[in-house]
């Protein structure tokens, strides 16, 4: 695990960009893992390895892609077909009308728009709060920095459940102001930005930036602000991309909290709307709506696959 944390995405200014790419390539085609070249030449090993890997591929195709493909198929089938022949390929023809109806009648488009606003806003707010805090802890390092860091890290060890009810009451009636954040997207963004994990990930990245750069900037007369905007932020685009992706995806998946703080139907994100509005809809239309709601995260993931998986691996570094 030590070696995982060691492979920081950036170590020197020049290597800040190519470093992650080199690491990804190394992950794609490692020289070797458990098996040596001699092992691989043994016919028995070859057969077993190939067999198991082929089996895993088939299993992954069925388990990973299967349900999504099934949903895609069923989204354009009749309800009757789905119920009687779940694995039949459109015995009664393809019903593209399902998608249109799901889009229009259950107003999926509107809810998706809400989700996009919520997710994008969450990414912006989280990045703002976490980068500024990480910069303070990693680069400015005030005397009280360790205290702040300890208090932030401590929240990682408090299970989310403790916070749910009091957080809801806080949002319902903001202490000290008398206002409420119910039906306000800030009720999602602000608690979401209090993310110790993201601060830790970003801080680790900042820690690996070369201190000489900051010294050089200081010699050139740059203050804390200038250093942040002209040196730290431009250098940390890779990690900010990862954090933004993870935040957007988490926000897209979130469901309980938005349901609690956004009681007004027209403000809700798609996950909440699917759960609350679709119960009495015809099955085929339901599945068409689910399919539409699934498209965006899946496409996002396929496009940014590398960044995603790097982010997941990086999170393991933090955990370990």
């Amino acid at each position: 695990m030590a070696s995982m944390t060691e492979s920081h995405p950036a170590r020197t200014a020049a290597a800040a960009r190519p470093a992650p790419r080199r690491r990804m390539r190394a992950e794609d085609a490692p020289e070797r893992a458990i098996l040596s070249a001699t092992d691989r030449r043994r016919p028995g090993v070859r057969v077993v390895l190939f067999g198991v890997q082929a089996l895993i591929l088939v299993g992954l195709l069925i388990a990973g892609a299967g349900p999504i493909l099934w949903l895609a198929k069923s989204a354009v089938s009749t309800t009757q077909d789905i119920l009687t022949q779940p694995f039949g390929l459109w015995p009664s023809g393809i019903q593209l009308g399902n998608l249109v109806e799901a889009w229009n009648r259950s107003a999926i488009g509107r809810y998706m728009f809400n989700t996009v606003i919520i997710a994008a806003g969450q990414a912006v707010v989280t990045l703002f709060v976490c980068t500024t805090c990480a910069y303070c802890l990693s680069v400015l390092r005030p005397k009280w920095g360790p205290w702040l860091q300890g208090a932030i890290l401590a929240t990682l060890f408090i299970p989310g459940i403790v916070v749910l009810v009091p957080l809801y009451l806080t949002v319902l009636n903001l202490p000290g102001t008398g206002g409420t954040l119910i039906d306000n997207y800030l009720a999602i963004w602000l608690p979401g930005a209090a993310n110790a994990f993201m601060i830790l990930v970003i801080k680790r990245f900042f820690d690996a930036l070369p201190r000489d750069l900051f010294e050089a900037a200081r010699l050139d007369g740059a203050g804390a602000w200038r250093t942040f905007f002209s040196i730290v932020l431009p250098l940390s685009r890779p990690i900010m991309g990862v954090v933004a992706l993870l935040t957007v995806m988490g926000s897209w998946k979130d469901f309980l909290w938005p349901m609690l703080v956004l009681p007004t139907r027209t403000l809700q994100p798609v996950s909440v709307a699917l759960f609350l509005n679709l119960k009495n809809t015809e099955l085929a239309i339901q599945l068409a709506a689910l399919f539409l709601a699934l498209l965006v995260p899946v496409i996002l993931f396929v496009i940014f696959q590398k960044q995603f998986l790097r982010g997941v691996s990086a999170s393991a570094g933090v955990k370990g």
């Binding site: 070797r32 892609a65 009451l169 009636n173 203050g223 997941v312």
Partner: protein, 333 residues
Amino acid sequence: MTTRRRARIPFQKRATRMITAPTVDVTPTTEPSRPPAPSRSRPRARIRRGGGAALVFALPAIIVFAYFSWGPIIRGSVMAFQKTNFAVSEWVGWVNITYVLSDPLLPTAIGNTFLFVVLGMLIGFPVPLFLAVFMAELRRGRRWFNLLSYLPVVVPPVVAIMLWKTFYAPSAGGAFNTVLGWFGIPSIGWLDSTTWAMPAMVLEATWAGAGATVIIYIAAMTSVRVELYEAAELDGAGILRKICHVTLPQLRGLLLVMILLQLIGTIQVFAEPFLFTGGGPGNSTMTVLLMVYNYAFVSQDFGAAAALSVLLALFLGLLSAVYVWVTKKWSTD
């Protein structure tokens, strides 16, 4: 990591000392009140020690954490001993705690949660490890394996659960019952059956979560130092012995952490029972977190909800402490 950091600091000290010493003399106007004071503040390449800028940068996080993290944590612990009626709260001592502990539903909920955790561990721990061992050996196409295994993780839980609900349709035409039919197995009631509802949820939860674990394990496996394997080979170790004596020991720390995280995560299971069954049939999928939700948002008894939350949090804390203590003991043996 510790060795690297230890090795780095002396160099930096040297470098910064060389740079910082003259700058204080050259630009005294920018920091007139601040003496150089190298003895008290060890120069570790800070831009400025403390000062207003640091506070300004930390302020957003401090406000957000104070309002939405630290505050609620404290408030939750206090609320466990209060009767809260939105506006007014009064102290009621241990009433909430005893009320929650004497709730006849609690033993059922604990039992169900325990069942979910155990089943989740039985499937959710070995499967990703097995996949990762073989996927780490891939020469080509790792990308596609990764893509496929991580795909379920990006499916929003609501979509996944509503989709799986269709799979679990209890009629003979349901997707899973159709598959069982191919093997001549009679249909199962799945979510309508008190025995199968929980395993059905565990299956979906494992499907939804295993991909992330696989990716983490693969990353850890590919970072095991090659020399260790080579040394083992020189000593005549076969493939299985390499796995048992090199790979797994090297992953030990990560595996232990992942098990703990999985434990903590599955104990807090909520989305599956809430969306699949709402706790039914016959409370056979009622979990502890679902009880918290019902206390708070169905019966509006925030005090009881807070009390049960705090009890659960204390339990999780105790569990983690015991876990860390026990696993540490193993490692010193």
